[in-house]
């Protein structure tokens, strides 16, 4: 198991390198130079050229790329922001906790609300409750994030004045962003839980349990849920990764100084170094969450655990060496 985790952690490195190369390449071919934005409207061609030289973006593609990696390896920095003139790593370090707080609680909300709702909808399939929760989750998952944020703001901040319109100076400021970020994950988790439970309830082994005389409650919680968890874990893990990397729209609307807002400003100001740093961090968080998700599978399903242990495909039924005992028995 430990070996598997180590291997997976090491596999994140090439992915991150690739991510940096991709984002760097996109930025390199940008039609608008950061120098133009920094120098303002009245800048001459010389000013811009001088600025480009200062930022080091007039150098060849590979030199810039190698330089970026060298800085990471040698000095452990992600460069200095063109605009804020601050180390990118420090800026991210300041903003990431806020984003993670929102993302974590949003994902938690999705699990705490979505999973029970999905189970209930599956158990009471075709009941009024099932219909309402299914329709709600379909409708809510079609809500654009910015629209949802604005509607929540309109009702709870502007009309009811329960929460601040913007910022996260107090805990109250977190509530609306968490809810806004959480709505889509809640809807997705509910739908996935419901369909996964329904899939498992149909299985033969659930019938076996019924034939044993197991009470319905135990059937749901012990026999069905554990088997239905894999797709649910996948959705929750994906939501965790996505919401922890920050919702650009949500942070922009509520003016929350998190990773999303930083990314929005750095992308629109062509602050390439900052963008690269932010995307690198996001890619790491997402890859890491994927790894955590895969590890969770092992706790739920012994077949996957066996697979991790041997790092091989699990033996198919009837092909394992234990078959030899069959004849002897």
């Amino acid at each position: 198991m430990g070996k598997y985790v180590l291997k997976r952690l090491l596999m994140i490195i090439p992915v991150l390198i690739g991510v940096v190369v991709i984002i760097f390449t996109i930025n390199y071919f940008s039609t608008v130079s950061p120098a133009v934005i920094l120098c303002g409207a009245n800048a001459t061609a010389e000013d811009i050229a001088a600025k480009e030289a200062e930022l080091g973006i007039d150098r060849p593609y590979f030199v810039q790329l190698a330089n970026y990696f060298w800085n990471i390896l040698r000095y452990g920095t992600l460069g200095t922001s063109y605009i804020y003139k601050q180390p990118v790593l420090d800026m991210i370090g300041l903003r990431l906790p806020i984003t993670i707080r929102i993302g974590f609680f949003a994902a938690l909300l999705s699990a705490v609300i979505g999973i029970p709702l999905g189970i209930l909808a599956a158990v009471k399939q075709n009941s009024v409750f099932d219909y309402i929760s299914t329709i709600l989750s379909i409708v809510l998952s079609a809500m654009p994030a910015f629209f949802l944020c604005l509607i929540l703001m309109l009702f709870f901040s502007v009309r009811l004045k329960w929460f601040p319109v913007q910022g996260v100076e107090s805990w109250r400021g977190y509530i609306l962003p968490i809810v806004a970020t959480g709505v889509m994950p809640i809807a997705m988790t509910t739908r996935m839980t419901r369909s996964s439970m329904l899939e498992v309830i149909r299985q033969d082994y659930v019938r076996t349990a019924r034939a044993k005389g197991v009470p319905e409650r135990t059937i749901i919680w012990k026999h069905t849920l554990k088997n239905a968890l894999i797709p649910i874990i996948t959705v929750v893990g994906m939501n965790l990764g996505l919401s922890m990397t920050g919702s650009v729209l949500c942070e922009t609307i509520f003016n929350i100084p998190g990773l999303g807002l930083l990314m929005n400003s750095s992308i629109s100001m062509r602050d390439f170094v900052t963008t690269q740093g932010c995307v690198l961090v996001c890619a790491f968080i997402i890859s890491f969450m994927n790894l955590l998700t895969d590890l969770c599978y092992a706790f739920v399903d012994p077949r996957i655990k066996a697979q991790y242990k041997t790092a091989k495909k699990p033996p198919r039924d009837g092909q394992e060496p234990k078959d030899g005992k069959e004849a002897a028995a």
Partner: protein, 295 residues
């Protein structure tokens, strides 16, 4: 083939109807999906004929009629420049639909090629393509679109391209796995045993058999792309004024949210309804074409 599929075939044999007609019949039984289809058809029609449907021009400012709430003259009211919101929403539908169709076409084209090559050949080619997709896939889609859009500049095709890149990874992974499943199935083996070339097998057997999930996926991606366009435009990285776009209309109305919420509510609802319609259509198509995939 599962039971339902068998009954479908049996029904088809008995009634002499083609599988397509039965699929249609099954689709029509799903009222939500039919409603979604009707809504989308109306949306497309009104996007095409929007200039004739309303007496106003989408960019005609009228400073005497600023920020009006819905009335007989302006069914959905006017915005802060006195422009008719309904006209702008209909005109915005045109932009959203064109861009999303372009984006989905681009990403599907790329994903079909990548997925088919990767899934069919396997081995090293598969490994390289999939590692590339892992890299693309670990960048949040919204961010990737924003970065590409900022680098390329704005314009309908460029925006479509920026959106397409963000969905290639997921789409090609899905196609790859369904092709891999199919590759090992018996009828492909049979085709190979009869000496079919790779090209023949891919085009005649593999791709047609991936069509059902692909069509469903296209419908779902159209919806999510519309949502993404509005998000990009909301941030000022997508469709630029004066061309109206739903997300951009919401962004413009944002500063008036206290006094005139209707300016943002109607375009926001337009995005939500369109996305909802595409989702319902996708679900309906999935249930009609392949009951096995029912989730």
């Amino acid at each position: 083939m599962n039971e339902l599929d068998l009954t479908l075939t049996a029904e088809a044999e008995e009634t002499g109807q083609s599988r397509f007609r039965l699929m249609l019949k099954r689709f029509c039984r799903n009222r939500m999906a039919v409603a979604a289809l009707v809504f989308l058809t109306l949306l497309v029609l009104s996007a095409v004929f929007c200039d004739r449907l309303t007496p106003y021009a989408y960019d005609a400012q009228n400073l005497l009629e600023m920020n009006q709430t819905p009335s007989k003259a302006h069914l959905l009211g006017t915005d802060n420049f006195g422009r008719d919101i309904l006209t702008r929403i209909l005109r915005g539908a045109r932009v959203s639909l064109i861009v999303s169709v372009m984006a989905v076409a681009m990403s599907t084209f790329a994903a079909v090629i990548l997925g088919a090559v990767s899934g069919y050949y396997g081995g090293r080619v598969d490994n390289i393509i999939m590692r590339l997709m892992d890299m693309l896939g670990s960048i949040p889609g919204m961010l990737l679109s924003m970065a590409v859009s900022a680098a390329l500049g704005t314009g309908l095709v460029k925006t479509a391209f920026a959106l397409a890149i963000a969905s290639v990874a997921q789409l090609s992974r899905q196609l790859r796995s369904s092709i891999m499943l199919m590759k090992n199935s018996e009828y492909i083996e049979a085709a190979r045993a009869f000496g079919g070339s790779d090209w023949e097998i891919i085009t005649k057997h593999v791709i047609p058999n991936c069509m059902a999930p692909l069509i469903v996926q296209i419908s779902l991606s159209l919806g999510s792309t519309i949502m993404a366009i509005s998000g990009l435009s909301f941030l000022g990285l997508g469709v630029q004024p004066p061309t109206p776009e739903w997300g951009q209309m919401v962004a413009e109305g944002q500063s008036f949210i206290r006094q005139f919420p209707h300016i943002i509510i109607f375009p926001g609802l337009a995005v939500a309804l369109t996305m909802l319609a595409f989702n319902l259509l996708g679900d309906g198509l999935r249930d009609a074409m392949d009951p096995k995939m029912k989730r």
